[in-house]
């Protein structure tokens, strides 16, 4: 069944479909739109990224609900109150969710899957954490609730990015 049989005639009969070669022959305007941006990580996230350089995970504690927020925020979104204290965490975590992806970031099909997911850090409440890669684990062995630990880049290669952690691997018992 053709598209027009399936969906009926086009809604706007006065409209005209343009092909690439039409674009120069019709009246038009070409312009450059300056769209520069500066995206700041904010106070809490900046500290978090700096601490990654030192191989440390840092969170912010809310005195009101007693939660440690990782990644840190200067404001508790539950209590609507400023967070009060910086807290270092051991860095170990558990798998919250994961995905086995046979498509890379450019949407190409790949043979060896990329393992991604979210981890919740020990010392912070469950169900909040960061997204990251998993490594040194077979796809079929990856499980929700699995204890994992970060594998850091060598100190001299760290730049204060979340990729200073190479991936999370299963913790040895």
């Amino acid at each position: 069944m053709s598209k027009s049989q399936k969906f009926g005639p086009p809604l706007n009969p006065r409209g005209q479909r343009l092909r690439a070669q039409d674009l120069e022959s019709i009246t038009h305007v070409r312009a450059k739109v300056p769209a520069k941006y500066a995206w700041a990580a904010g106070t809490a996230m900046s500290r978090f990224l700096e601490e990654l350089k030192n191989g440390k995970i840092i969170g912010r504690k809310c005195a009101h609900c007693d939660r440690v927020l990782v990644p840190p925020r200067m404001f508790c979104e539950r209590c609507f109150k400023p967070t009060t204290e910086w807290v270092y965490l051991p860095g170990t975590a558990v798998v919250e969710t994961f995905s086995i992806s046979y498509i890379d970031t450019n949407a190409n099909r790949i043979q060896e899957p990329i393992l991604v997911g979210t981890v919740a850090f020990d010392g912070a409440p469950p169900h909040c954490g960061i997204m990251h890669y998993f490594g040194e684990v077979k796809p079929e062995e990856l499980k929700i609730g699995m204890p994992v630990e970060p594998v850091w880049k060598p100190q001299e290669e760290r730049v204060g990015s979340v990729l200073d952690i190479k991936y999370f691997r299963p913790r040895k018992k």
Binding site: R14, G15, Q16, L18, L23, I26, T27, H28, V29, R30, A31, K32, V33, A35, K36, Y37, A38, W39, A40, A41, G42, T43, M45, S46, L49, E50, M74, P82, G160
Partner: protein, 157 residues
């Protein structure tokens, strides 16, 4: 409580350019008629709504008041009168403009929507609402089907 950060670049930040540099705007069905008439015949077209007795300049394909389809294109002429104007002494970057640029809305007759364009060949202090003006077009060989094919409007002699 929380120290105040005034510049985004004082803390960890990322600078970039959004990919918005290849902007293409096609003028549409009514725009095509307007700009080709301007380029080829040096005419300013409007679209007339018989039901509302209103002429849109530049033309639209639908009446904004009664939503009826507009198919009647009329040559509104090159003479109009100033409905509103503003004198700009600074450009978009905040630099002083010498001489200032004058922008105005021009109406081409009763029950006609006004067109926004520049005024020229006039001192800013001599402009008034109701001033009769005429379009000054580029020579035909330089016209490319853009609104800048009209250089500016000047007072009629």
């Amino acid at each position: 409580m929380i120290e105040r950060i005034e510049k985004a670049t004082d803390i960890r930040h990322w600078l970039g350019d959004m990919e918005a540099d290849h902007y293409y705007y096609s003028t549409g069905l009514a725009g095509e008629k307007f700009f080709t008439a301007l380029r080829d015949d040096g005419k300013i077209l409007g679209a007339h709504c018989a039901q509302c007795d209103l002429t849109y300049v530049p033309p639209r394909i639908y009446c904004e008041h009664c939503f009826s389809e507009l198919t009647e294109y009329t040559d509104v002429g090159k003479r109009g009168c100033v409905v509103a104007f503003t004198v700009a002494h600074y450009n978009k970057a905040g630099q002083r403009l010498e001489p200032p640029e004058i922008f105005a809305l021009m109406s081409f007759g009763p029950r006609t929507t006004p067109l926004l364009h520049r005024l020229g060949e006039i001192e800013p202090e001599k402009i008034c609402v109701g001033l009769e003006v005429e379009a000054v077009l580029k020579p035909k060989k330089d016209r490319e089907g853009k609104i800048t094919d009209i250089l500016y409007f000047r007072p009629t002699k």
